[in-house]
Amino acid sequence: MLDNKFVFQKLHEKFGESIIGYEENYDIMAIYGAKDENLKILQYLYDDEELGFTFMTDLTAIHYPHNIGEELVVTYLLYNMRKNFHVRLKFALDIRKPDIFTASALHPTANWLERECYDFFGVNFVGHPNLIRIMNVDEMDYFPLRKEFPLEDQTRRDKDDDMFGRNSERFNMGKLNI
């Protein structure tokens, strides 16, 4: 049986310094890795007989605007189908140079997921065969889920801004000074 400790120890033995951190939320482990090593770690998790994480459930990014230098965190959710075991892998990127290697050769499902991730967060997956927008209109000139952009559409005219939290002092808890 796989467990969190075992997976972490195997990775730590193999990659040492490249495994930066470790956390557990709701029994699912998250491992923080160095972004340049992401492909090697994924390949090892895939190839190793005891680990066998051959299925990529999800790939996404999170924007933490206050973590200067590590604003974008690319997250892989990997799955071992035989042993019914999940693991999360996280790689922090600098938002000014959000480059990370593509996993689309190893996991074909990463092809579209990486396009989505690029579409919404602007993560540049180096080596991706077709890194263009997948969900939003092609003319969109920003990355809508980055937190410096308001979620609301700016062309809307029929709302009372004070009642809906736009330009309002009362509802500016999510306001960020970037």
């Binding site: 939003n136 209109v137 979620l151 609301e152 559409d153 809307r156």
Partner: protein, 190 residues
């Protein structure tokens, strides 16, 4: 053998369209052409349903036997833009869908009318979001807005009746008027 045992009863509760008025005698009638055309168009509107979400479900009820849009001459639904008179947009239109909607509108032949059914088609509704078109009147001109989330079938019927009023009273020359050309131009059509 007697086949018709039961007496035949005809439905006499039928409302016919009234004559638009004019000078009539035996075997002839003289009246305004635009009124006859308006009368004919009004009672034979072919809807083109453009249903993208839940308002489309209400529209299906509207077309069903209970509410029966066919009573008003809109018997014939079609998904062929060139044959249809009124474009019924029902549901949230994402920004990526907007060019498709516009293309459908352009393919329709004049005269053409548009109904925006529901809050999303009219204004974006609750989806005040980067991905949703904030009302279809940003890409095509709209004649009638039906509010509601989703509107009941009666409201959709009311919208159709409002379009009928527009159709009936529309001047024959309206579509070639400079104002109308200007309107289309402001949407970048033609």
């Amino acid at each position: 053998m007697i086949y018709n045992k039961r007496p035949v009863t005809h439905n006499t509760n039928i409302k016919l369209v009234e004559s638009p008025g004019g000078y009539e005698g035996e075997g002839f009638g003289a009246m305004q052409l635009s009124k006859i055309v308006g009368l004919a168009r009004k009672n034979s509107i072919w809807p083109l349903p453009f249903a993208t979400s839940c308002c489309g479900i209400e529209f299906m009820a509207t077309m069903g036997a209970h509410y029966d849009l066919a009573r008003f001459g809109s018997e014939r639904l079609a998904f062929t833009p060139r044959q249809c008179d009124v474009l019924m947009v029902m549901g949230t239109i994402a920004k990526k869908m907007a060019p498709v909607l516009k293309q459908v509108y352009i393919q329709m032949a004049e005269p053409r009318w548009v109904i925006a059914v529901g809050a999303c088609a009219s204004s974006g509704g609750i989806f005040d979001s980067y991905s949703v078109l904030q009302g279809i009147d940003e890409v095509i001109p709209v004649d009638v807005y039906v509010p509601g989330c989703a509107p009941r079938p009666e409201q959709i019927l009311d919208g159709i009746l409002r379009v009928q009023e527009l159709v009936e009273s529309e001047s024959i020359r309206r579509r070639s008027s400079p104002e109308y050309q200007e309107l289309l131009k402001s949407y970048g059509i033609q």
